[in-house]
């Protein structure tokens, strides 16, 4: 019988925390996708050796405190305004790497205009879009991406389109715009998915070097606290319900 302490040995370690991921205890709930995506971004910045050239733009939402976790310069934005803040940064610092990190309420509701127009101008930035179909930080309200029938605190009987409208596939929408060069939908619920998501984030950053336009990586994510499920059940629920509506894969790669 092998004990856990026999397994956790330096020679058995396959994955490690990025050097750029700070030791600040994370405020995210256990099971939340944010921590994994944060680590992937930190790894990509570390591997590309662009720590001193990267500026992150943090949103309003659960990841408002993203700047506490990754060791780079950060700029906090107002709710939904991250693409405009990133535009100001990138236009004045065209050789730096600028990325936004935004949730679904931030990117696809209150910030829709800023999102669409940053995409349409082809701002040479990277957008990381966490889509968990709910407002996590404010306590589980309906998001623009909440699925029909999905329960949230402001649609307690489930989202009903005649009252609440339809879930919006914002990535499909911006993939239509000539200013975007790379739009992809990923997840981080399995080791395989994490590896794919990392490749996508890396490509989205590399595209800035090539000055190709805006790259958007949507990560279909869980919010087990908001969904009121265990982390494992949330992963299963996401695969069964979110993926059919938000299918994983590249929407555009030019």
């Amino acid at each position: 019988m092998i004990d856990v302490k026999d397994i956790i040995k330096p020679e058995n370690l396959v994955f490690k925390k990025s050097k750029l991921l700070l030791d600040t205890p994370m405020h995210y709930c256990p099971g939340c996708s944010h921590g994994v995506v944060h680590n992937l971004i930190a790894e990509v910045i570390e591997e590309m050796n662009i720590q001193s050239e990267t500026i992150g733009v943090a949103p309003v939402g659960c990841s408002v405190l993203a700047y506490n976790y990754i060791d780079i310069d950060w700029h906090e934005a107002a709710h939904g305004r991250a693409p405009a803040v990133a535009t100001g940064l990138k236009r004045l610092l065209p050789d730096k790497f600028v990325f936004t990190y935004q949730g679904d309420g931030d990117l696809a509701a209150i910030g829709t205009a800023e999102t669409i127009h940053a995409c349409n101008r082809g701002e040479n930035i990277t957008v990381i879009f966490i889509n968990n179909g709910i407002y996590g930080m404010t306590g589980g309200q309906m998001a623009p991406t909440t699925l029909e029938g999905m329960v949230a605190s402001t649609c307690p009987d489930g989202r009903e389109h005649s009252r609440d409208g339809y879930p919006i596939k914002i990535s499909d929408l911006v993939a239509q715009l000539p200013g975007t060069c790379y739009v992809t939908r990923q997840a981080v619920h399995t080791p395989g998915a994490v590896r794919k998501a990392k490749k996508a984030i890396r490509k989205a950053f590399e595209n800035q070097k090539l000055k190709k336009g805006l790259s958007l990586v949507e990560v279909v994510s869980t919010c087990n606290s908001g969904w009121k499920m265990s982390p494992v059940a949330a992963n299963d629920w996401m695969a069964e319900n979110m993926f059919p509506f938000y299918p994983l894969g590249d929407l555009k790669d030019e």
Binding site: A78, V85, G88, L89, L92
Partner: protein, 360 residues
Amino acid sequence: MRELKLMKGNEAIAEAAVRYGVDGYFGYPITPQSEVMETLMAMRPWETTGMVVLQAESEVASINMLYGGAGAGKRVMTSSSSPGISLMQEGISYIAGAELPCVIVNVVRGGPGLGTIQPSQSDYFQSVKGGGHGDYKLIVLAPSSVQEMADFVGLAFELAFKYRNPAMILSDGVIGQMMEKVEFDEYKPRWTDEEVVKNNPWGTMGKTPDRERNIITSLHLQAHEQEAQNIKLQAKYKEIQEKEVRYEEFMCEDAEYLMVAFGSAARIAKKSVEMARAKGIKAGLLRPITLFPFPFKEIDAFSDRVKGILVPELNAGQMVEDVKLAVNGKVKVEHYGRMGGMIFSPDEVENALEELIIGG
């Protein structure tokens, strides 16, 4: 050698911005200030000084583009008119909260609502009393000539960077649209990136190994931290109040009656003072150039010397409240105003002085 030109106030803002070495302008069209961005686009400064000029999708976006650029330590500015400035208030509050320098030009039109495109001074309260949410202040400069439109671009940037605070040039459709001769300084080069880092070590220019990461934020979730930040802001505003008051006096030495007016209203009031003097009335004019910091002490100094103060404004009576605060009941203060884009004539104001102050 200063260069002499004949141009509109709005055009002077653009010309002065390029000459001062501004890094970025972000704006959205709105009457009566669209010439600012049009002039910049026609000047093509990206080919000469390297200045970025970008038309945003809204005033909400343009102020947030400023927020990003200002966070890096760059010199950034925008211009708009009243309804557009209202849309920017969220961003202005964030910029003030995060203590970033930038310049915002408001070429005011009559309101409320969509209002009129004619000149007004009805955004005084919004400019000097907050405007957006939270306890903050803008540095507010009030030009009353095309020359001052040009000169105040540089002054606004100097004060904004000195105090890490957004500065506003509060103009109106009169000053923005009229043409006058204006002298310009020589072109100054923009800061290099090395100079930006040296001058503004707090900026998000990328975390180098020699320093901790820079974080631009207005978020302080712990109440005691937010209070500490607010105390720091208030101390800064107090220092600005003590050190940066600017004003102009006209025929005040022997004045028995004082007018206090800013911007375009001050131009008209100056003529009214001359008309009153021709009638043997000893009138004078004090023109606040900084609206925040407001010349409270300087106005109060007239409390014992004059028999009354008239405050002519192109609004329903806004700055008059600060004049009353300044003199604290020691002398009679009356407001005379026109609204909604109507502009009083010099004799209207002179009559108001006789009726409301001398005869009243």
